[in-house]
Symmetry: C2
Subunit: 471 residues, 2 copies
């Protein structure tokens, strides 16, 4: 799988194609080893797997021209945003061109009255929120990294606000997509709902760059709530924290965020972000609404927490302390990595029906403890989604094998509980077998047949999602 | 297009297939004219277009066996639920078998703790709500008719609650689907979110029976709100009612229902359901939440309405009056039909970004008035979705032509406003050209390529959605 970066040669790109690509993009087409290397690694523990070239695109038209060249010469093309994928999605396992959209970072249009925004695919989520705040609006989907909106579409991302506001699935209205053959499609409209034919927009969301290159995204925005309050609550055990989350959901309280951190994760963020959180299993929560609605929700949740032996809520009352708290939560992954210098994280992403959550987490903790691998847990527990991060020394083959075995067992339990192997990270290179285990061979064959008809030369991010031969 | 029901003959079904189908289904396979006729008409103004036979299925296994026979003999198969489609979706434009799933009406499982239910496709929405109410739960999607859940999936239906709870797109977790070749697929899981491969569940939603036969549906349920209050508010003009709806949405008030009725619609429901609503443009609203949340929302909306010259709210305070009000709203379509005996309704279904709604409705009203065709308006205006019903005498070719011309102009304005030709009814026979106008030829060709790869013999509901030749 390793694709070494040993020279400026481009084994998968014939000379004639190189000439055309250079003519198209000038110095925005590069085969320099440093640039290729930069595009050969994401947040997964996979080793460097660099592309043969990197193309910096500035428009859908350029990408259309590039795809025509790549398709004619059967050169793999891997869309690249912020490089923050966690399952190896952007790795050039068959060489080819890393198509970097980070310069397509223009906010095309904000329609404040309709609460929609149209952005180029390279816009990052924090920049988007910065740009729409003055209109009293925000975009809720927030994976840990400051990812690009295009990348978030490609993996059907979610994050801490999904429990109330939904994931990319619920918040994308329309897309511009360049197909393998260079056709540029506009999918969807700015209307909130539609029954007009097959939902190609939703088909593209989560397709991880294998069906088309997403170049523009139209999103639903939400009004900034009048009142926001955030609180942390420590519990004696993970189990009790999870039970509280389950009861919150079952009570129908419209909580905006409901995040679990285990003691290891709390300890890590305390160090990384200089916080003084009590080092115990913890729920981080946020409430959105009017003043009275927020007060009422918080009170109801406080009662549920108390019944589960939760300590008194600690409130983050000012916007600054709130922001500090959530920034720390978003840093949890990086913070955990720093607890073991040089380590990489094998991160699980199971999502289960909420009634199965406590049992799934319990088993996972017991297994990790028994295996003696350092780990941390963070979870969007309101959605039934939790991440175990197994902190492995990548130079020790044995640790990696143990972590992968723990991951496998965790995923099997999740699937047996009616859940999924991936709530928000996608399949990438890492979960191709799990996808077949979860969905069954027939559905995956249907997916593959759609892939084949839309990308007959298998040039769009080949080697991802499918453990089946596509070509 | 008309397919006459003149005998018990089955022109499209060869004798050998007939024998196999009879062996499979016994007397649940029928070619009796009365039964065929019953399956040859929906709520659209299209003339009777009956199938050659009707099959009453009782399981996915039976449907799988039936599909294998139909696929081998290239016999069209049209999934049939409650027959309440409004765009001709269930009409047998190429003959074949109407596959009636109404006997598959079992509620398979209710997981109250997870707020999910799994039902056979023939379960109707009112029966589902009856079955889950005791658990303190409800299913919010409510098209006017008491449709089947399978049919609601097939058209990506929504209704009055979508403004708060979303449409079928947001409320379906998993599906069982029988493909054209008889393979039975289970798509999705009971987890609230997933990034596991292509979203085939969403691809099936809205595919109108052209990609597979939906046999089982797993749904998200929602907790019955602690407090509910409903109100009606009359306005001097449609414009002012619509402005109020727009401002409600822009204020981020989590209103549960926000329905517009014009004077004609109010008059019709008054007569049909013996109500005494003031005969003026009107918003019907419902608020869900805690007691204080509901009070607060209602007060904010009342202030917005007042600023737009709305009259004082009339409250439906008891569950009985509330239920009467919403039943009347759901009867609006039938009520309107009764205002012109023997008429059929050409019903529009445009959905536009909310800021464009007032202007779109204004134009539509002005055009209908100028044309002198009787009409009514109901609208899920919180979503930007509105229905003009042009009440035509089906025996007068000219009226139909005028109504279709009005519809065309209305759709073109909606598309030009960034909206869609269909918010919730689907394409069927009626909007095939509009789909191309709205989406463009390339996206429709991509849809057609998916259709071809999943149903190469074009046996699944042929002649719908696509104005392109598929075979």
């Amino acid at each position: 799988m390793l694709h070494p970066v040993d020279s400026a040669s481009c084994p998968s790109i014939p000379e004639t194609a190189l000439a055309s690509l250079r003519a198209l993009l000038g110095d925005r087409f590069s085969t320099a080893p440093g640039i290729r290397e930069h595009h050969g690694r994401d947040e997964s523990p996979f080793p460097l797997t660099a592309p043969d070239a990197v193309a910096l695109a500035r428009s859908a038209e350029e990408i259309s021209a590039l795809m025509k060249i790549a398709n004619a010469h059967r050169i793999p093309v891997i869309p690249y945003g912020a490089g923050s994928s966690v399952e190896g999605q952007i790795l050039a396992v068959r060489g080819g061109i890393s198509l970097d959209l980070s310069q397509m970072d223009r906010i095309v249009q904000v329609n404040a009255d309709d609460m929609t925004a149209t952005v180029q695919a390279g816009v990052r989520r924090l920049a988007l929120n910065e740009a729409v705040r003055h209109a009293g609006l925000f975009f809720p989907v927030d994976p840990g990294a400051d990812a690009t909106l295009g990348g978030m579409c490609a993996t059907r991302a979610s994050g801490t606000n999904a429990v109330r506001y939904g994931t990319m699935r619920e918040n994308v209205l329309a897309l511009t997509v360049v197909l393998a053959d260079g056709r540029v499609l506009r999918l969807g409209t700015r209307a909130r709902k539609s029954s007009a034919g097959y939902d190609l927009t939703r088909l593209m969301l989560g397709s991880e760059g294998t069906l088309g290159v997403i170049t523009e995204v139209t999103l639903r925005l939400h009004p900034l709530p009048t009142a926001v309050s955030a609180a942390v609550c420590a519990f004696p055990t993970v189990q009790q924290a999870v039970r509280t989350a389950i009861e919150i959901m079952q009570s129908g309280i419209p909580i905006a965020r409901c995040e679990l951190l285990d003691t290891n994760a709390v300890r890590a963020v305390n160090r990384h972000d200089q916080l003084q959180l009590r080092e115990a299993p913890m729920l981080l929560m946020e409430f959105h609404g009017s003043d009275t609605a927020v007060q009422e929700q918080a009170q109801m949740v406080e009662e549920l927490a108390e019944d589960n032996n939760g300590e008194r809520f600690e409130w983050a009352t000012t916007p600054e302390t709130r922001s500090r708290l959530w920034t720390a939560r978003h840093h949890a992954y990086l913070a955990a990595l720093q607890t073991r210098p040089g380590c990489r994280s094998v991160t699980t992403d199971a999502c289960v029906p909420i009634s199965e959550l406590a049992c799934n987490i319990d088993h996972a903790v017991a297994d990790a403890e028994a295996a003696g691998i350092p780990y941390f847990i963070v979870g969007h527990v309101g959605d039934g989604n939790f991440h175990m991060g197994y902190l492995i020394d990548p130079s020790l083959e044995n640790e990696r094998a143990v972590a992968e075995q723990l991951n496998r067992e965790l995923v099997r339990r999740a699937i047996a509980s009616g859940g999924t192997c991936t709530g928000e990270h996608g399949i990438g290179l890492h979960k191709m077998d799990f996808l077949i285990e979860e969905a069954g061979l027939d559905p995956v064959q249907v997916m593959a047949s759609i892939k084949r008809v839309m990308d007959p030369n298998n040039v769009l991010n080949p080697g991802k999602i499918f453990a089946l031969a596509l070509d």
